[in-house]
Symmetry: C2
Subunit: 321 residues, 2 copies
């Protein structure tokens, strides 16, 4: 099989030709980090990209996977090539591991127009916050028009990752207040569209009023002067999914029209760049404060033949800091 | 007045000759950070030191200032030159500002053998965690045999600072559980001596049992195989203060005898050195991600003429990272 290659450039050619095994291998390389990941990053970045990313986040049990699966069905009905990244910062597993649980997503497992992938914490420098945009650019480069980024919970990393999509969908349930109290403010900040899923349960109107009240108090200029619509869905019965995609499409048109999408992507890339620089220096600091040279300088400080600042200068000499 | 000089070396000479205004000026320089602070650090470090540091920490209202004042009285009775650093990470004020409240400490304000100083967050690189050891070395260099380091609360920075003393005293009150629940574990880790202050209130024996139980579960090797004694005091009436100082003295003899003091000071200096290196790199990262060069590279990434990793490489080139 051609996909047995370990050369990123060769694998990328195969993946762009539709080879899913090659794509899977490339994603594993991205996740692991290191030289291969950087080679892929460079190759992929030069290819540019047109994919639109939609983030989905919400408390565990809110029905995000079911909703994602319903959205896949909707997009496939429009002949779009879809990719899903399921991000789980708490899991040591990745690849196919989590998907065993995602029975509904398995509906699409044999559809060549759908590519589903779980990502968890591996060795990637900077963890999932840095690996996710790399993975998205790779999926973009192999021709996926829409990339759905689903995160498992509402922790800081998950909200950060979902919030960096072009359009972010926050999924709540009737009576959501209790389950996401911890990060309500974080969710309000990133939501472009609200979904009240499991809307066949009672409490939908109260939840809608809650959200509306919070939106009234929000600074919408942070969202590109867009007021997030609130869509009621019953994902398990495919109800409200058209309306949800319609809201995502309207949001896209709005931020493309007023230049906010370009601004958002610009600031996202600058953040990523800053993040890479900070991580590289962090690794450098760890390297510096170890080994024979460090031991020697620490001893000189301890016996007072030098002082801590001079020793730090000495250690940082090769680093220009 | 001679103390009007701004030359650190001249000021240090004056301070070592007993000039309190010169010492106060040097401490302000240390607090502010920058070149003067580093000059002082180098001068002072070379002088070595013999001072013993005692940290006092505990929840606000536990009576730390009253206890500190009582300890000053005790030490002055032994003809010791004492210095007190009152550390308040939450206050923008320093110097004499806080001391207005510390009525009891004012008892010692006219005693030339006592030097009391508040330190708060100013511009010092690394904040109070880095400024405090510098200030201690300065007080040491001007001949203070004992430096009491009092922190206002039980926040992370405060516990970290107090925990880096040679002997750390944790002050609690009867029924302490409720007030310090948040950082009980942190306090248990750093306590060499426990004080139950306001021991004229009820609940002293329950608190003692609580502490004993927690000590039974602790790994005392982390404290140099020392089991922290539990001393009951009523600082406002000067009760138990002799016993407290006796416990501090026994702790000092114990860790001097088994080599743990040297080990503790060694690890403290290594931490400080690591901290300085990390802070310097942090500043470097902030410098790198700003200015024309940064803007230019960010633009190249945005228009895809380069990728984020290559841009980061480019930016880090001068830094060898």
């Amino acid at each position: 099989m051609a996909a047995r290659s370990r050369d990123p450039e060769e694998l990328l050619g195969q993946a762009r030709g539709g080879d899913r095994a090659a794509l899977a291998r490339l994603l594993s390389m991205v996740e692991r980090g290191g030289d291969d990941a950087r080679t892929i990053s460079r190759l992929v970045y030069a290819l540019g990209g047109t994919a639109y990313t939609v983030g989905l986040t919400g408390a565990p049990g809110a029905g995000k996977s079911t909703l994602t699966s319903a959205l896949i069905g909707h997009l496939r009905g429009m002949q779009q090539e879809v990719a899903v990244l399921a991000i789980d910062p708490t899991s040591p597993f990745s690849g196919g591991a989590i998907l065993g649980d995602r029975v509904r997503m398995q509906d699409h497992a044999l559809d060549a127009g759908v590519f589903i992938r779980s990502m968890a914490t591996r060795g990637h420098l900077g963890g999932l916050s840095l690996a996710t945009p790399e993975a998205i650019r790779l999926l973009d480069a192999v021709g996926r028009q829409t990339v759905l980024v689903e995160t498992v919970g509402v922790g800081q990393v998950e909200v950060e990752i979902a919030g960096k999509a072009d359009t972010t969908v926050v999924v709540v349930n009737p009576g959501w207040g209790d389950s996401v109290q911890a990060n309500k403010a974080g969710l309000m900040e990133i939501a472009d569209v609200f979904v009240i899923n499991k809307a066949d349960r009672k409490g939908v109107e109260e939840t809608r009023r809650d959200l509306d009240l919070m939106l009234d108090l929000s600074d919408l200029s942070e969202l590109g002067d867009w007021r997030p619509p609130i869509i009621a869905t019953v994902a398990a019965e495919n109800k409200g999914v058209d309306e949800l995609w319609d809201a995502v499409t309207r949001h896209r048109a709005h931020i493309e029209g007023n230049g906010f999408l370009a601004k958002r992507r610009d600031s996202r890339l600058r953040d990523e760049l800053r993040h890479i620089v900070a991580r590289r220096l962090e690794i450098k600091a760890r390297e510096i404060c170890t080994g024979d040279r460090w031991d020697q300088l620490a001893h000189e400080v301890l016996d007072r033949s030098t002082d801590p600042w001079t020793a730090a200068d000495e250690m940082l000499k090769g680093v220009g800091a």
